[in-house]
């Protein structure tokens, strides 16, 4: 029994990190109405930035926050501004331009291959970092410390983004644009600037996820793919565009992954995940928390 509880807790913790990796995907979709297929690769870039920031300076892994968040914000900001925006402008009349999706797929390939070229295919892990393998003993249970911090990071990040969207001038402009681009521009809002900032925020949140992963997760050029597929399932489960839906969707996936193997062979867990995914698509296509696209 105690093992089930332990698995449940660790499943929730890991799941919230999955949710954090998917947060940016849902934010970017909510505003631009485009699935960013490069999101996993951007997470991968964040992991490399975090890895090197820590490996080269020997700082505590979480100190990488001060490097990774601004770097990733501007990375996302300029990917949208320099690569995606021109395509949006060329396809002004299309509500969900397919060419933008194709371009994000291109960015995915370029980032993954560029990383392979620069750093090779090696699996990298931060050796002897203070968080690696660290466990918290609670009664007879062992709780992973870096995952516990990941949970905190997910909740704090989601709450911060939520408050930013609800209470600030730019946050309201972002929500207005996500609801009606044309009406927003008639209110003096520059649609493309909003897109840049939404992309920056989404990418920065992937950076925060990267920092929570790096102390206990291998870094390699295609690591993003792993989170990409989970991310798509999570945002559909939680509701495309829903911030809290992403976190809850992540926790559901994390729970299935950690608890289900107790009761069945591990190969079944994926079947359950995809089964649930299909069920939600059939029963509630807008996802568990999908209230159109507002936050």
């Amino acid at each position: 029994m105690i093992f089930v509880l332990e698995d449940t807790i660790n499943g929730i913790l890991m799941g919230s990190i999955y949710g954090l990796t998917a947060l940016g995907l849902t934010i970017i979709f909510g505003v631009l109405k485009v699935i960013n297929f490069a999101h996993g690769s951007m997470l991968m870039v964040g992991m490399y930035v975090a890895y090197w920031a820590v490996a080269l300076t020997g700082l505590h892994p979480y100190m990488a926050l001060f490097v990774v968040v601004p770097v990733m914000f501007f990375f996302g900001y300029y990917v949208q501004d320099l690569i995606i925006k021109p395509i949006f402008k060329a396809e002004k009349e299309v509500r969900e331009p397919i060419t933008v999706i194709i371009v994000t797929t291109g960015i995915w390939y370029i980032l993954d291959n560029l990383t392979l070229l620069l750093f090779g295919p090696d699996y990298r892990i931060l050796q002897d970092n203070p968080l690696r393998g660290k466990m918290l003993e609670a009664g007879q249970m062992l709780i992973s410390v870096p995952k516990l911090w990941g949970f905190c990071a997910a909740v704090v990040t989601a709450a911060s983004v939520y408050v930013f969207f609800q209470k600030t001038r730019m946050g309201r402009a972002i929500r207005a644009t996500s609801l009606d681009r044309e009406a927003a521009s008639l209110m003096g809002i520059n649609q493309y600037k909003v897109y840049n900032i939404a992309f920056g925020i989404g990418t920065a949140s992937a950076g925060i996820a990267a920092i929570t992963l790096v102390p206990f997760f291998n870094v390699y050029p295609t690591v993003g793919v792993l989170f990409d597929i989970k991310g798509f399932i999570i945002v559909v489960l939680g509701g495309l565009g829903s911030i809290w839906g992403a976190i809850v969707g992540g926790i559901i996936i994390g729970l299935i992954e950690s608890v289900a193997p107790q009761f069945m062979t591990a190969t079944w867990t994926e079947a359950i995940v995809y089964g649930l995914f299909l069920l939600v698509l059939f029963v509630k296509p807008s996802g568990l928390f999908g209230v159109k696209y507002d936050w």
């Binding site: 309201r172 929500r175 009406a183």
Partner: protein
Amino acid sequence: MSFLEVEEINVFYGDVQVIFDLSLHVEEGEVVSIIGGNGAGKSTLLKTISCLLHPQSGQIRFENALLQNATPEEIVARGIVQVPEGRRLFSLMSVYDNLVVGAYNRRAAGSQEESLQQVYTMFPRLKERTSQIAMTLSGGEQQMVAIARGLMARPKLLMLDEPSLGLAPVLIKSIFKTIRAIADQGTTVLLVEQDVNHSLSLSDRGYVLEHGRIAMEGQAAHLLEDPHIKAAYLGL
């Protein structure tokens, strides 16, 4: 030079021309109506002035400056604000959030609180409903929010696209009264309407738009007496 000057513009959607050699002008402090039936090109004209569309030829000037190739945001920053057809509220946002988004442009942002007090005085109903989600408001309340949101942007020229659309007769009267009050407080108004009687009654001048061309123009009082307008638009 006029406050707003539209000179011989031609506007297309793809290959289809919708506005033909259209010229008009609006003077500071005036209320000018543009009337015309469905599909005449009224909304297209307002979208062109707001720079959501760009004319293939012709020019638009506002306060003597050309609006060529400007973006919609720049137009708002210069003081031309449109209340679009069908209200176009930010449906899932509260009344308050809708109003505050109206004050997004830099010129208006500084006086946001003052503007809020002004629109709440004009529409006391909205003050009671600040936290209600826009989508759940009645049609009349939604139109109040749309106009109030436009005022929050501190317009020098306010353009309204069919504000009476879909409202009950009582509400129509009060909306037109409000528009007159806005004009009396010094805002120039360009009003697009199909309710010819009401709109011409509160306007200084009017233009009749038919098939993308100005068919007639003149003092509002004269247009109301015109036999063609009486027959075609007033059903008399």
